[in-house]
Symmetry: D5
Subunit: 149 residues, 10 copies
């Protein structure tokens, strides 16, 4: 018996390697953005029945494994507080170097509050550029103001 | 005698409060994006002579303090590895929840490599939205491929 | 010159001791809940002009110190990740022991998402009880659902 | 042979997924609050004979597994000191931002002491709200005063 | 102006050195156990008016410093999670080596619950012993049972 | 083949659950205090031939497992530096809050040195008390003075 | 089914021991530097089809295992932030002792920016020396300047 | 009175900024490599009388400050175990990603032992390159073999 | 197939327990000091062919396991940075309490440099003493001076 | 007024630099080993009246500072759990690499127990050696056996 979501995630990743699937193709099947679908397959988001069945079909999951895709997971995908992987570290470095800057500018524009990480979407695009193609990541989150009470 | 860049940064921030300056106005004076200028004033970037003089003028810095703005700083603006401030934590959470997703999708598009945090720019915009205005942060970095050697 | 909000917070706390003020009285003056006003005086929330002036008057703050009360602070009030103070540790223990329980029950009722800590309020009450009076803390936060994108 | 309570907890969670049980139904069977029963099933509380048998029946536990439910567990349900899961992190953030505030206000009302996390109960309710439903968590703990000795 | 309790604690310790006071004498003046009085002077407990005045007199505290003795302190007296001082480390080692043993035996006797660290007293005695005198530390805390709710 | 003492400890604990043994009964069989015997069974102390055989008989250990009981273990029974279990945390809190106090009072009585955690014994007793029964833990260790050399 | 790249890495290392291969020979087969090929075999770099097949042949990998060599790995090869192995620690010590020196001298020569760890190569050579042979490690990385934006 | 080497280092750095000195010029005056001299000025190495006097002259140090330059310092120049500064982090990343590779290749060439970080030198050079100039760092350390004893 | 040196180490330790071997006897067979041989058997040192065969014979290792004894291990034998085992902690405490003292005295005698931990030997002896036998540990390492470059 | 022992230690170290004292000379004046006297001057041991007066005379301490030398200090002289200074790190590495070995051999000789770090002495000697002089550190501690109770 599958004991937790992690085992399903590992099976999805292993099946992706052996079958040679791409996240783009998976997203197209599910009918949502590649960003959200990948996060869901990596065990960070919860799928509804239809989504879970499609993902299950693509990754050869059995009925019980598909059920796990519909359970809200314990989120957080990094093995260490400061990530060791260079690609992910660069994102961490952006927060380290520019974090206070982002904070200052959002507060200057909106006042006290935060950019939501829940009412949130993300879009990753390649920008063709003669000086070397660029990765563009658009983070979009609803501004949530603190309120007096 | 000023002992380090941090003291200059603290003076800039304190002067900003007492004079009521905005980063937008500072950026306009310097003639660069508000994101870069704010990061520089917060002690994360190095200014050239002209930029340093303008910043010095706005924040009442003396000659010696202005010199420090031209020295490459020890970067990293956060007091703890996992940031406690809610606004900055949300950015950290985005990496925690979506970090592997971003990694997967960049590799699927570009192969092995990273998004540079040096050949990098950032743009923060308000998006008017009837369901609540949104913060849009565009991170743009050159893709740097690993090469065999 | 005041260098940061922390110095203002320390002055507020020291003045409270020397003048013998209570948070309840401060809250009454400001006209908001004791929970929010205390958090603001402790450097976690941002005050508007009127609130800042009232707080400034009560704690003998000068004009420049009052300005700092209107600047969004770097939040987070604990010196260590696991708090050493017994009263605050008990709250941490509640999360440690019951955190997964709270997660399970909120998801069972609402689906995937979180209880907001921004669109949030808190109410602390004494409950008279013959077996020993109780502290009742009501945490109330808007449910924010994850959305597909 | 079952080696520890954790294995029983994992079996309970896996069975819940495969059988599609809800904590509400489990709580109703056991005849106690959903908060306490869920905590117990998640390996944080100790059940008596009757409770253990009911839980065992619902989750298909064998006799030896049921015995483990009656053993006092090593408590603490979080894998890291600062929780990575967004829902649980928000609770941690509340302590980080409002912890000193709660401390100040309880001491102002009760003097030196703590809110017990043992003589304690918790109640989680949905509040219907046109601006978005809210999660209300009531924490109730006996005040325990420090005594001179 | 005194900024926090720590400064008062430091003055107490420094005065104790320069005046050559003993904790035993201080305790006798205050009229409580040496354990509780020492903890209070070290900034871990809260004194009432009479106790604060006596302590203030012994340590040459001014009126404002005496007020701080009556404020509930942020408790926890160790600079690191694992204490480096050999005497204090031995206590930590006792918990490390015998902690689970103590847990097992208290639960075997009392069921699920804890020994209170609030409704608590401590008594330190010298035991004369021909094989070398011993330190006897008696920790006494009320048993607090977990209750279903 | 058994690989380490931990596996034997786990078998002892699991057998205790399935057979319903108590530490008190085990201690009586071995003929030593319940505190020492429990610590030994939990993998913190080393047993001699006779003790190991008795423990082995009670917990159905085979000859090889019994040999492990006679090997000096790697001691330390806690999974984290700051223990998450509430009962054990209270002991840690006692050190955090009263550690410097204990240090001051032992030094005042004995001079520079420590209370041994090796030439040490521990006694846990229930104290009947109308206000609620108490747990009394007596820690007794030989005082070891630092010597000049 | 292979669950992750780590399992393939472990098989490569175990096969290297049992077959007595050298990294030099493996590198010669693959036709690239010993530094890059070793890093790839240790699960830090991504191989193309031809490289993966050659490595697969040398280490008796099956078709599925070979596929994993072509998947971008989660990088970072050290089990702790500060490495315990003496050889690797010496490299860490070089950064600890000389890190600021390297930073100062690169900035003095190039201005603000970094030495890339992606557009990077490494060459390890033995230097024969009568006073004892030396290890020479040449790190070569493209300088990447920060740019205003 | 100067209390420690750190204060001298801070004075050196501040004087360098205000006088506009370069490490290259300082090294030329002292007559040693820029790498070693910079490390010494940054408080990591010990100077002899002649070197200390030259450095003292360049940085306006008084007699007592010059004495500190001749005292062996407590080494280690980084404020955190994992460095936050991007330039220094890249060096850390090289160890993280290639550390085991370096270990494997040195052992394959030399057997068990280490590259010394004491009998060590470092040379930093700019390599002109049409694809972008490169930073070349040559680390050279004597190989020290483990010996049986 | 054996996956790593750790598995061989665990087999050696388990076999030592089941066969009742002593390190002294193992050392005599190998013909080197008990300190070096024990370290090697515990997976910290590398054996040559003859040593590995002797160790393999004593501990019933097969041909493949013997090969692992000849592979340079990833060194470092402690599960936590601050060791929990009381015997090993005392060594750590010696460094904590006397570390700066040792540093001062070696520098006073030798100048700047270190005591090698590679060109190193260790000798552990019992000293009979009427006041209680003593453990004498002699650490002997070549002094390695820092050199200018 | 001196606030703590640390300030006295800093004054001793600064005076040693400015007056050019050696620990050897200080030890001769005090009439004890250089190891113990240095540790005491560095704030790790407690001096008696006569020793404190001699140390006070050598380092120009006033009466109040001399009093601090007679107060038992909070021990532990390292700023981080894993020391960054190379000389001290080598000692830590010895524990990391050989710690389990030392444990095994002491237990094989003495049974379960520890080498005391309190009933302890240390002797540091230069050994002239044609292959390079060596540092010999003899650690000598009374063996303390665990006893059943």
């Amino acid at each position: 018996m599958i004991k937790n979501r992690l085992e399903v995630t590992e099976k999805i990743i292993a099946t992706k390697v052996s079958k040679g699937l791409t996240w783009e193709k998976v997203a197209k099947e599910v009918g949502l953005s590649k960003e959200w679908v990948t996060a869901a397959c990596l065990g960070q988001m919860t799928l509804n029945d239809e989504q879970a069945n499609k993902v299950g079909g693509l990754f050869n999951l059995n009925e019980n494994e598909i059920k796990w895709l519909k359970v809200v997971p314990y989120k957080g995908s990094l093995p260490t507080a400061v990530p060791s992987d260079p690609l992910i570290y660069r994102l961490y470095e952006v927060i380290s170097v520019y974090g206070l800057t982002i904070k200052e500018l959002i507060h200057e524009e909106f006042g006290d509050g935060i950019m939501s990480a829940i009412d949130f979407s993300m879009d990753i695009q390649r920008e063709n550029n003669p000086a070397g193609d660029r990765v563009n990541i658009l983070l979009s989150g609803k501004f949530l103001p603190y309120k007096t009470f």
